[in-house]
């Protein structure tokens, strides 16, 4: 069974066993506007909770993506290199950014539930 959590910086992370898939929320993609470029982390690199791990660029803004949890990057969505617009079209699905092997499962308890995130964005 997988569970999806959220951060105050508008990232989502879908966790199953010890692997998380990370992306940005619909709210974030709407705020940014048309995504033109995504800078993904390298496979095998280390990510630290709360530290920047990727960059998403639109015509009017560029934003850091902060990793919701610490771990090792096991996959990155190379498809976004050719088609960054997928992030706008399907931010919660095909617009995923990277997969991470979580090294400290205690960090999961710091993440927000969907309910809490929706309250944050006032939806």
């Amino acid at each position: 069974m997988s569970d999806t959590y959220f951060t105050k910086d508008h990232e989502w992370i879908k966790i199953e066993n010890n692997i998380g898939i990370v992306g940005i929320t619909k709210y974030a993609s709407e705020q940014l506007g048309d995504i033109v470029f995504v800078e993904l982390p390298e496979k095998g690199s280390q990510a630290e909770k709360g530290k920047d791990v990727a960059v998403v660029e639109s015509v009017k803004a560029a934003s850091e993506i902060y990793s919701p949890v610490s771990g090792i990057i096991i996959d990155a969505n190379e498809n976004l290199n050719e088609a960054p617009e997928v992030v706008n079209e399907d931010p919660s699905g095909a617009g995923w950014f990277y997969k991470i092997e979580i090294t400290n499962s205690e960090e999961i308890s710091d993440l927000m539930s969907e309910q809490e995130y929706l309250e944050l964005t006032g939806d």
Partner: protein, 448 residues
């Protein structure tokens, strides 16, 4: 006052609309805190006649390239600028237009910048270029910052023969600590000795070609070495005309090329404004700072140009910007591109070779002077001379004879005690045989 269109009648009408009695009513909140209408120790307004008299007087006190035999280079060169260039850049629509943020009414600017970017890429042998930087020195500093971001490493190695002002600028502006910077200005150091300074923590190596002392190198071998160490090669070019007779920096393995473009379209101007060029490989495109013009389409499918990749710029990324630069060199880059268009491949290469040939002629004459030694083994249009007397004394005596005879190296490298008798001399297509004769005869006289 000739630049102020409002009349007293206008002002009174406007006061009425706003509902005030006096202009100082609009400054009343300031008046509560501080004095307004201060007493300024400055003259009152002047007519064109008076201003012209004043400033011409100052201009008249200077020796310059048109009233002297002129042999100065060192990062700023005296070339002929075709009359059309200055005429076109003074057109209202180029001179007095704003940055092209509204592309629909700025296609003139955007298209010439797109052409400029292409010309610069062709000259440097690289994939992409931006729409210009302030000048060669800040362009080089930005190249260093770029290399650090790309490689995520901190050490920077500067060749001993880059322009000392450029080395100083890099030190100040690229945020490198003393431990991380390797540099010592010295003509006597062999370029290849630089290899011992490069290690796995090196982000980039900065080499100038032709170098500050005039010498030319093929950097291909050095670039292989640098790349093996995981560092980037930044090549600096201060005399654009050299690129007409030499291998391009791109062909020599450069990853980033930073140039001073002043030689095309822009006068000496006592050091500014100039135009910096910055080019790189396609893979580093998104790390390129400054303004960049890209192609696009409008709603009717017509091709047009826009400022693009601006999300990296400071006004959007604020704390995370790739650089702090805001302006490009606008009119100076226009002058550059017009001049290069007028020259074309044919003219540029011809002029490029001519500069070198004139310098060779001068070289032959001056190397025969007793006590004078040409230090540079190979050169483009400037070389280093060792004099039989102190450089400052020599140049002073020469300038009294109307000859601007060279740049004393110790002026830019004062800590190095070896250079008291060394000067750098440059020639361009603007030098004549008379200049050479005058130089040689006066030099003989002074040093006998």
């Amino acid at each position: 006052m000739r630049y102020l269109p409002l009349t007293d009648k206008d002002r009174i009408e406007m006061f009425e609309t706003i509902g005030i009695k006096d202009i100082d009513d609009l400054f009343s909140n300031i008046q509560k805190k501080v004095d307004i209408n201060p007493d300024l120790k400055l003259p009152n307004h002047m007519t064109e006649i008076e201003v012209e008299k004043n400033l011409s007087g100052l201009a008249g006190k200077n020796l310059h390239a048109n009233n002297s035999a002129f042999f100065l280079g060192g990062g700023s060169y005296n070339h002929h600028i075709p009359s059309s260039v200055d005429h076109i850049i003074q057109r209202s629509e180029f001179l007095t237009s704003y940055t092209p943020y509204q592309p629909e009414i700025s296609q003139g600017t955007l298209q010439y910048l797109f052409e400029f970017q292409t010309q610069v890429s062709l000259l440097t042998g690289m994939d992409v270029s931006n729409a210009s930087m302030y000048d060669g020195s800040t362009s080089t500093a930005e190249a260093v910052s770029m290399a650090k971001r790309i490689t995520k490493k901190n050490r920077v190695v500067l060749s001993s023969s880059i322009h000392p002002h450029y080395a100083q600028t890099i030190k100040t502006v690229s945020g490198i600590s003393d431990e991380d910077l390797s540099y010592k200005g010295d003509i006597l150091e062999n370029l290849m000795d630089i290899e011992s300074q490069i290690d796995e923590d090196t982000a980039c190596v900065v080499v100038q070609n032709p170098d500050f002392f005039g010498s030319c190198h093929d950097l291909s071998y050095l670039s292989e070495f640098i790349h093996k160490k995981g560092a980037l090669l930044i090549v600096v070019v201060t005399e654009i005309f050299s690129l007409g007779v030499m291998k391009s920096p791109g062909d020599m393995g450069a990853d980033i090329v930073a140039c001073e473009g002043q030689s095309l379209g822009n006068s000496l101007n006592f050091g500014g404004p100039y135009v910096g060029l910055l080019s790189t490989r396609k893979k580093y495109l998104r790390q390129l700072p400054g303004r960049i013009v890209g192609e696009s389409e409008d709603v009717d499918g017509r091709k047009g140009f826009v400022l693009t990749l601006s999300a990296r710029e400071q006004h959007i990324r604020r704390e995370k910007a790739t650089s702090n630069i805001c302006t490009n060199s606008g009119l100076c880059s226009l002058a550059f591109t017009i001049h290069l268009t007028l020259l074309g491949e044919l003219g540029f290469k011809k002029l490029s070779l001519l500069n070198h040939e004139f310098t060779c002629d001068f070289h032959d004459m001056v190397s025969r002077l007793p006590g004078f030694e040409v230090v540079s083994k190979s050169f483009y249009n400037e070389f280093t001379l060792k004099l039989p007397i102190n450089a400052d004394d020599f140049l002073d005596s020469m300038s009294k004879k109307g000859i601007l005879a060279g740049i004393p190296i110790k002026r830019l490298l004062p800590e190095n005690k070896n250079f008291d008798n060394y000067i750098i001399v440059a020639c361009t297509e603007m030098n004549s045989k008379d200049d050479f004769d005058k130089y040689v005869n006066s030099a003989k006289e002074i040093t006998s």
